[in-house]
Symmetry: C2
Subunit: 211 residues, 2 copies
């Protein structure tokens, strides 16, 4: 079988999640550059999002699907904990991150402060202000969950942790995150733990707009 191919650009949080899955599993992969609104993307993903993924004759899109495939199809440490309850909690946190963390933190605050300026557009401060309490609530729920455990689900790293990491990476660089995150000590300790893993450095993205 050829190496799996991850299609997308490295600044995308979801592309980084898939790359983190590859590195944590110990598998080699190719990152194939692909930007929004390209013909190549339309062929790989009928809804025009990234990442997309190919491994031999298996083509997939949507990050949850790609990560599940990587975990099951390859040898290496499992990124899904054993036991029905811990597996379900992992799913719960992935769903929380996708539904309640990503929208205010990435789609609102990070896109406004990091992407809009590159497009020559002004930052919508009202959007950032409206998103901040939603971000605080969602990250507060996660902080509480991390009170007495090192990772989001089970005893070791799981897919839930690698969905969250790329989001916090950007949020820490922005005024809202710099103000909010010190009040979430368990999340901070978790981030330091994640930051010390080899997969962090191996997937650190170039600056927005860079290569």
């Amino acid at each position: 079988m050829p190496e799996p191919i991850v299609f997308g650009f490295p600044q995308s949080t979801y592309v980084r999640t898939v790359r983190l899955a590859c590195v944590e599993k110990g598998i080699a992969y190719t990152l194939e550059p692909l930007r929004f609104s390209s013909d190549a993307l339309a062929e790989l993903h009928p809804f025009g999002r990234i990442p997309a993924f190919r491994h031999g004759d298996v083509s997939l899109y949507e990050t949850t699907a790609i990560c599940r495939y990587i975990n099951t199809a390859f040898e290496g440490p499992s990124l899904v904990p054993p036991g029905a309850a811990d597996q379900a909690r992992m799913e719960q946190w992935i769903s929380v991150i996708n539904a309640y963390v990503d929208p205010p933190v990435i789609r609102d605050i990070v896109v406004e402060r990091l992407t809009r300026p590159l497009q020559g557009q002004p930052v919508d401060e009202a959007k950032c202000s409206a998103a901040t309490p939603r971000a605080a609530h969602a990250l507060g729920v996660i902080d509480t969950a991390l009170t007495d455990q090192a990772f989001l689900s089970g005893d070791g790293i799981s897919l839930a942790d690698i969905f969250l990491l790329p989001i916090i990476y950007y949020f820490r660089q922005l005024p809202e995150g710099i103000e909010m995150l010190p009040s979430l000590p368990h999340l901070e300790t978790w981030y330091e733990r994640m930051q010390n893993r080899a997969s962090f450095a191996a997937t650190t993205p170039p600056p927005p707009g860079g290569r």
Copy 2:
């Protein structure tokens, strides 16, 4: 262990998905009525959505998490296909349904046409019109996927099918669905197949606003 409890109201598509999972697994459960914005809900789900779920000392929220738990924790036919690729495709379809089908079909068209009138509010026709091409695109992708297979992933029913069924159930009752669905023949055949299962009748919701 006591029977699992599903918290929510039966008209919710996501509550029906969880009930379908219980019935397809052949397990007894209690449906505990719970409406939005209640104190009881705030305790069960920190983001105030339904369903929530309890089984002994396992408390969960978010439908993907609850369904995974039901499939793994109980005996009965598996609702997750074997094999890494089919499992990943199931995840892909669940993600497609949550991200690209539910927003235009349920949150826009169904809420406008079925929920707003109960609240004494006018239907936002512009919202319905804007949602219709997005619904058509997403359901078209699913129709194509069903061209030469009976279910969304693998050889039998999976969690992906039970995420989709409650959405199509409502869409068929509304002008947009009545016009669109006959042009999606594979989806129509799939719906007839799903409609003939015992789980369909066992979970058919009362009318919106009814008990």
